[in-house]
Symmetry: C2
Subunit: 181 residues, 2 copies
């Protein structure tokens, strides 16, 4: 951030009075420009025991498989956002959404919220950000080609929970991944 | 938003290519400036069966009682943010945090995340945004002086859940309140 979005003058990083951390503050109008974590909402859609995954048509992790998810928009609920993303990426209508898994990803200031859901009519397709979508049995999941750690972990937990017949809502943190080598 | 925070030129509201809603786009550098919902994290702190509430020293809802909560900051987890707010507003050290209640508040583009927690040593005080803090038995809760609908609802549910001995994680949406009159 270089300029004030209110008045167009320069901003400087400083600790405002009464605050305890640096913010971008306008040198002219003194507006404080906060930046906050972003919420990513998505679904874990299941139809007849199989999970719907999308193969990404875009970077990052192009050609890897993911659950439909994306940035929550202003004015929507987290569930509505998760259903919207499922429609946009997998052309599937999410039904019976149940909050399932929350991940904090503090090093990139994101929170993921995944809902379990059904798929209306079992119908799906591929939106503009997906090469294809497909339903996978547990044994067919392409574990080595999953796009993101949060997706891998949510899927592993889902199949474990399914064996137990219980789907508790969990929250945990994903730390920065160390690259091998 | 009037100006581009990257280059300082004007922004205009338009639908970027491949998008489906209006964004602030810079007329010069073409940066797209997204705005997204903000996350408010807080605690429902309990010590020896009593719930810790803070009486607000600031607007909105000055002098009304609330649970300690505030905007999640970049680089922290939701639980760390909830504990931070509990320290800042009630000078209480939150321990044993358990995710409890999520509220979508779409008309103001916010998500609340409340954690149940204990209070280390039962010690608390009042931070700069609080007039005072106090522990309340259920029968003592000042129900007519609760600052926000999400706090009222979380407290009601907490006491109901306590009677059942189960604390399921819930998510629901709070719609715009109609003013009487
Ligand atoms: Zn300014
Ligand atoms: Zn610009």
């Amino acid at each position: 951030m270089n300029y004030c979005s209110s008045c167009g003058n320069s901003v400087t990083l400083r600790i405002p009075e009464g605050d305890d951390r640096e913010r971008y503050v306008c040198v002219s109008c003194e507006a404080i420009h906060y930046t906050n974590p972003r919420v990513i909402v998505g679904c874990l859609p299941v139809h007849e025991g199989r999970v719907l995954l999308c193969r990404r048509a875009i970077e990052p992790r192009r050609d890897f498989w993911t659950l439909p998810a994306g940035f929550m928009e202003n004015g929507e609920t987290s569930a509505a956002g998760a259903a919207r993303e499922t429609w946009e990426e997998a052309e599937a209508k999410a039904v019976d959404l149940q909050l399932y898994r929350i991940f904090d990803v503090p090093h990139i200031s994101q929170i993921y919220m995944f809902y379990r859901c059904g798929i209306e009519g079992g119908a799906f397709g591929a939106g503009p950000e997906s090469v294809e979508s497909a339903l996978f049995e547990e044994a067919q999941i392409p574990w080595d080609e999953i796009a993101f750690p949060v997706v891998y972990k949510a899927l592993k937990e889902y199949f474990d929970d399914r064996r137990k017949g219980e789907y508790p809502v969990r929250v945990s943190s994903i730390e920065r991944l160390r690259r091998p080598g």
